[in-house]
Each structure stands twice: as C-alpha cells, then as structure tokens.
Symmetry: C2
Subunit: 338 residues, 2 copies
Amino acid sequence: MTIKDVAKYSGVSITTISRVLNNHPDVREEVRAKVLKAIEELHYVPNSSARDLGKMQTDTIGVVVRGVGNPFLNSVLHAIEKEVSRADYSMVMHQIGSNEDELAEGASLVRSKRLKGLIFLGGRFDYTPEQIATLGVPFVCCTYTNTFGSLKKTAYSSVYIDDYAEAFRAVKTLTDLGHKKIAVLLGTTDDHSISELRFKGYCDALKSAGIVLDKDLIIEAKSFNIDDAFKAAESFLKKGKDFTAIFSIADAMGIAAIKALHTVGLNVPDDCSLIAIDGIQVSKYTIPTLTTLVQPSKQMGTRAVEVLLNVLKDECGSCQLKLETALREGGTLAKPKA
Amino acid sequence: MTIKDVAKYSGVSITTISRVLNNHPDVREEVRAKVLKAIEELHYVPNSSARDLGKMQTDTIGVVVRGVGNPFLNSVLHAIEKEVSRADYSMVMHQIGSNEDELAEGASLVRSKRLKGLIFLGGRFDYTPEQIATLGVPFVCCTYTNTFGSLKKTAYSSVYIDDYAEAFRAVKTLTDLGHKKIAVLLGTTDDHSISELRFKGYCDALKSAGIVLDKDLIIEAKSFNIDDAFKAAESFLKKGKDFTAIFSIADAMGIAAIKALHTVGLNVPDDCSLIAIDGIQVSKYTIPTLTTLVQPSKQMGTRAVEVLLNVLKDECGSCQLKLETALREGGTLAKPKA
DNA sequence: AGGAAAACTGAAAACGTTTTCAGTTTTCTG
DNA sequence: CAGAAAACTGAAAACGTTTTCAGTTTTCCT
C-alpha cells in the first residue's frame, strides 16, 4: 500500500497525492477531497522512512541526557516527551555516561537519525562556537545556566534556572537563620555544570554573610546518585567536623543526607538544618519534609520544546528563558543551637 | 557525507561499504579494515532513513507506558532504552493516560512510525486474540502477570514477576510475625492489573493465615501516585481503625504511608509494620528504611528487549520470562504489640 | 596444470517518498 | 477576446541506502 496505489486508485499523479499529504495549497479542493477519500478507503499510511529520506529531515528531535537516574531529570524528560508528541514530532532519548561528551554524542545522534534539533539535558555544556557549529542543527540547553564558559550568553538557546543565584538564595536562608558552619553536599563537578555553579553560589553566600569558607565542610560525592551521596555524607560525618547546617545541591542528595544524619543520631533540624534545590516529588515525604527550592520541572521540559520548535520554525537566532524556583518549606530548617 | 563518499575515498564500491556496515561475511578482512578506516576518518554515519527505506523496516521499537511518574517504571524504561540502543535499534516512548487504551495507542504508533515491535509497560493488558492481531507486530508485556484475562498464557510474550505470589509472600511475612490486622494500600485497579493481582495475593495470604478480610482495612488510592497514596493513607488513618501493619503494593506508596503514619504520631515499626513491593532506589533512604521485595527493574527492561528481539529474529512464537524479587530488609518490620 | 567451487566484488535496480521544473489548464484584465 | 498571470498538474530526478545478480578473482582438488 504505497502512494502509487493511492494515485492509481484516485486517478491522479503521485505528485498530487504527496501535495495533499503535505497540505500544499496548490491543489484543487475537488481533487483534494477525492484523494483524501482514496487515502481513507485504502487505509493508506505514508511510509515515514521514505518521507524522511525525500525531505532530508525527520521531524524528530533528540534529547541527550546525562544522569537519567536523577528523578528531577526524569520529570523534565517526560514533560519534553509529552510536548514533543503534542507537536506531532518524535523524540529520541540518548543517555550518556560520565566519560562521554555531550556534543560529540549529540552530533553523532543528529547525523545518524537526521534529527531536526537537539535538547541537552542535565550535564555540562561548555564548548567553543566552532565546536558547536559541527552540530549543524538548532539546540536548546536545558537545566544549565549559560553564564559561563567560552560562549556568549546569546550564542545558543537555553531554558534554565540561575543555579548560582538559587544556590546563593538557599545558603542565604541558612545564614539568615544564624548558621555559620554550613556544609555543602556536591555531586562531582566534572560532568555537571550545575554542581560547579551551585557551589559558587554557596561560596559567595558565605562570603556575603562574612563567613570564611571552610574546606573541611565541602562534601563531594562521586556522582549525583543518591547512593554515592549517602556514602559521601556518611564518611563526612565520621570525621566529626563541627557544623550546624547542610546545603545539598540536589534533593536526592539531601534525602541521603537526612538518612546519614539520622544514622549517626543527629536530629534534623535540631542538630542540623538542611536545604536543597530541585523539588522532586518524593522529597515532600521525607521525615522531616525536605525544605527545598522547587524547580518547575514540567514547565522546564515544555518550554525547552517550545523554544526549540520556535527556533526551527523561524530560523531565528536564539532564545534564553530563565525560570524561577519556589521555596517549598518543609521541616528541615531551624536556628542553630546556641 | 554519504556512502558514496566513503566508497570513493576507500576505492571500493558502495555495495562493499554497505556490506561492511551490515556485517556481511563475504568481504575480505583486508578490505573490511580499509573501509572501516575510511568510515572512521570521514566520520561517516549512515543515514537511517535511507537505511530503513532500503531494508523496508525501521529497527525501531515502541514502548507504550502507563504512569511514567512511577520511579520503578522509569528504571525499567531506562534499562529498555539502554538495551535497545546497545542492539543498534531505536526506541520511541509513548506515554498514555488513564482514559487511553494501550492496544489502540500501540497500534496507531506502529502504523505511523513503522515499528518493528512493541513493549507494553506498566498498565493493564487484557485483550482478545482478534484485538491483538490488529497490532501486526510482535510485542512483549512487561510488568504484567499474564495469568488472567481472556488470553492463554502462551499467546504472547512477557517478562514479569508473579505479582500474586510476591504479594502473597509479602503479606505472609507480616502474618508470620504475628500480625492479624493488616491493611493494604492499593492504587486504582482500573488501569493497572498489578494492583488487582497484588490485592489478590494479599487476600489469599490472609486467608491462608486464617485471617478474615476486613474491608475497612483496604486503602484504595486514586492512582499509583505518591501524592494520591498519601491522601488515601491520611484519610484512612483519620478513621482510627485498628491495625498493626500495612502492605503497600508499591514502594512509592509505602513511602507516603510512612509519612502519613509519622504525621499522626504512629511509630514505624513499633506501632505499625510496613512492607512493600518494588525496591526503588530512594526507598533505601526512608526512616526507617523500607522493607520491600525488590523487583529487578534493570533486568526486567533488558530482558524485555532481549525477548522482543529474539521473537523478531526467529519469528518464533512467544516467550514467557518470570523474574524473582529479592527481599530487602529495612527497618519497617516488627512483631505486633501485645 | 587445469577445472570447479568458493570467496569476493560491483553495477544497477529497487525502496517510497519529495521536489523541481516544465507543462497545461483556468482565471483575470483591458 | 486576446494575452498574461495565476492556478494547478504530472514526469522525472533526486534522496542514501540495501539487495540482486552477474561477474571476477582466489582457493582447492586431482
């Protein structure tokens, strides 16, 4: 059942069928109706491979995601998928690991699947314009703050929160309560730019509160994974350092921290306050409830797709969209003990 | 950069390039090496649209998933994606909501995307052979027990745990400890067959322990969502029923239950024991750690793909693969108070 | 060494679309 | 009503692969 059969059946050329299929304006209404009827009667469905080959593009956008285990990224990812299919596009997801390069993986994905555009989700993105040019398709960076690296802010599209400022805000919440000895729980800064940026926010918030950075209070987990975060927190606690609060750069890591604190008999928030960034669903159900800056994950995904589709349509330059977090007050905050 | 360029560059015909690309045996080792080198040097990536068109198939499999919010399904989904791309296939995911029909959605997906096969993940699957025949491609049911409905067990492929038996086992753990008043926390049984099956396991475990089912101890949440589970648990607790344990049919719901219990001042496990099924990562970090029957989510995804690919390759009938859970002992189990 | 089989190779024809471009109608204008 | 513009249509050439089939080598056997 091909376009040829439809052509024969309805007595017009395949060109005309193609035109009807693609909503070209220059086909008589009467003919269009006839063709549509034929398509209906023959249950014809266009072959998308042939279509893509003819068009030299695919109506497919790719999502390169680093660290799919992360519940927050999952939420964004699903929002992306929903929006993509709402727009009658397809999505392919490509998971990358810690030793893989987002741009290289993205480029190969684009070439092999003939993607129209790309979304980078949850990793690092620090490339030169020349490197970026190799991609050949528009893209949107999602969950990265694009305020660093060798690229100008306007060089590419992004949908993001200001990781630096939000981290600053989180830590300021702690200093405002009177905390001086604030630890920070980080993922590796190798893969994830947010780790670096949020750490910077932490540093500057301390500084602006007149607190000197204590390197002993930096807890760096091997990854963003909750298991790694727990291990890191555990071994930090064993050292018996003096501290009254923890800033966790991600909810999942914060959950691990609560558990680790509990394991060594420290009470949250009496012995240790805790604040995180992300706002994943499950962190509403920790005991006590995690206080966190909630990122609008669904909106982030939806907007990323919108931005990409706009760029594709208008061939316009780029677009930066900054979203805001909202404080979700849980029960992990208290004044430091005297 | 097409196959033609590679042919010219390496001095052989495009046919030979194609053969190398597809691992045909009849190409001299020396030539193969030369071609591979050329491919490498030119950074050539085959055009998958053209490839699909030539082959008349797509090397794409679809995943129809109900309830993507669920962390367990997410884990399976990512395992599927990994295995699919490891096999040089592509995956398209299709999320469906509560008022959508898996088979209908699957069928339309197959037609429009020319899919080679389908995986159904996390919902209900109860169709007649005639309905199934409309699909036209092989498929695997994942996370459904195929021991009910109008179909014979061997009518289609599946990778699953025995939801009934595992639920039985979970509840037996509670009755063995001496619990008599055991509540069950369910998702809706409309969309999700596992809810129904695990509930059956609960009922029969009670019966075999000589306990009469108390309908007042059935907590049915509106969905599998953690928020809905919390609401359901909360309103159940308000009623002040007498019970000493809860069997939660999913980890996420169990986490909600712990929180709800804590909110009304009940201690886990002293006042109420708790056991669940799923074994998602975060449930290792609840306080106390959730005791649960861990489903091998990664394996489940991987195997589902393997089974599907085998069926596709051999055109053989079908294959049922039952996986086992493993008890992860946390701290939510205790003998009932005297 | 000679012939046959086996191993390899490439030209050309698919695959089912879209797109270009050269028509052919129809409609409009004065 | 002639001529030009606009509206429509179709033949044929892409698009980048795979596959078929007819060669051409090489290897093996006597």
